[in-house]
Amino acid sequence: QQPVQSPQAVILREGEDAVINCSSSKALYSVHWYRQKHGEAPVFLMILLKGGEQKGHDKISASFNEKKQQSSLYLTASQLSYSGTYFCGTGGVYNQGGKLIFGQGTELSVKP
């Protein structure tokens, strides 16, 4: 079953913050976050593992709540380059093939 992302779309002004959520009805082992710009491949942002700590990458960070089976991606002081579609992927158990099941995506537009 695919994870559910919210919101579906968000429009920001440069410098504003955003939160994208990813929820699953199944127990999560790992949550992978990717950003995809139009016509390009998904680019790996970060991964959160069950039992792992919160990760950060520049002004983008994420958390993983095992009890709620939910991950959240935090974009702080957004830049124009943050625009794109953000996908969360769940699964990725490394010793079981590791397929990723992606959510439907959240389209983020950062305006000047």
């Binding site: 390009e40 491949a41 998904p42 990725g92 590791g98 990723l100």
Partner: protein, 113 residues
């Protein structure tokens, strides 16, 4: 920085024809994947491949689809008897053993007319 490469970048074929999409995974990676993305939709898992055999496949991966690792570097996806609904972007991904991060190639846009 090593990266996954895919060829061709765009393939146009007529319905009913066969196509082969090629991928060169990152050299020390052992797990390989194909995903597809219909325009404007989410990325969907097709198949995973490890140790020269399919680990898992989705419902999309019917008997028209096959994968192969013909040599030590290439990983191919073959689609026989293509249908209009096969039109999509196809992404190859790979990862190392004992690591879950997957790295995606730039994709091949397949257009079936």
């Amino acid at each position: 920085e090593p990266e996954v490469t895919q060829t061709p970048s765009h393939q146009v074929t007529q319905m009913g024809q066969e196509v082969i999409l090629r991928c060169v995974p990152i050299s020390n990676h052992l797990y390989f994947y194909w995903y597809r993305q219909i325009l404007g939709q989410k990325v969907e898992f097709l198949v995973s491949f490890y140790n020269n055999e399919i680990s898992e496949k989705s419902e999309i991966f019917d008997d028209r689809f096959s994968v192969e690792r013909p040599d030590g570097s290439n990983f191919t996806l073959k689609i026989r008897s293509t249908k209009l609904e096969d039109s999509a972007m196809y992404f190859c991904a790979s990862r190392q053993a004992f690591v879950v991060e997957q790295y995606f190639g730039p994709g091949t846009r397949l257009t079936v007319t």
